[in-house]
Symmetry: C2
Subunit: 136 residues, 2 copies
């Protein structure tokens, strides 16, 4: 049994009662996305083993993949030195974390003086992400 209350007590939530969470692919190490978590989303993440964030735009809990099916199974749950950031090492179901259809939300990098896409989409977001728009 994980003492969730004890873990939550060790975190430093900001003035919006959130901490930042980074999701990283457990196998490849690719950084997939960045989102936010409140205490309740942390509790549900630990209890269900699936990433649950706090959607700042919708102002409600957001089980990642609840509409697209692209859920994140949490393999490791780490916290940083000062307790205001979480690192989730996840198995990304469906092959992509990003609502754009890219595997990672970080699909653009500085190259040749501007921004270039570093990876193609792995699916057409119009098909899979009908409703799960960018709700981070």
């Amino acid at each position: 049994m994980i003492d969730v209350d004890n873990i939550i007590r060790q975190l430093k939530f900001d003035e919006k009662e959130l901490v930042t969470a980074v999701a990283q692919d457990y196998e490849t190490g690719e950084v997939l996305m960045l989102a936010h978590m409140n205490a309740e989303s942390i509790r549900r993440t630990i209890e269900t083993g699936q990433a649950v964030y706090w959607s700042r735009s919708r102002k409600k809990l957001w089980r990642k993949g609840e509409e697209s099916g692209n859920v994140q199974k949490v393999k490791e749950f780490l916290i940083d030195c000062d307790g205001d950031a979480i690192l989730l090492k996840v198995q990304q179901i469906g092959g992509a974390a990003c609502h754009t259809g890219h595997r990672s939300c970080f699909y653009r990098k500085i190259e040749n003086g501007g921004l270039a896409e570093v990876a193609p989409r792995v699916f057409d977001p119009a098909i899979i992400y009908k409703k799960e728009e960018n709700i981070e």
Copy 2:
């Protein structure tokens, strides 16, 4: 020549004029730390090739490693889908990003019901980080 102004224009800064930055080891893929950047720190990061953050506690630019020597050489600079997060793939000089002496700030994970350290320190922070306390 990188058009820094054009890149900054594509970012969405929060109400404190910051975006969140994740630093990842370029070679191992290890997530090292999370910090924040304003427009000027982004400009200096791009122009110098070394990670420059905005210290929220000191309210000033913070060239990572300026006091400890543990600078971060930026190998890749990525931005996420909605432009409010940056991923820096870096070469971490000195072997450790964290002021505690750990290689990564994410050195604790949930294990056996509580939090356990996943990696030992790589140096004694009392020696190297005399002044570079936790200034994130």
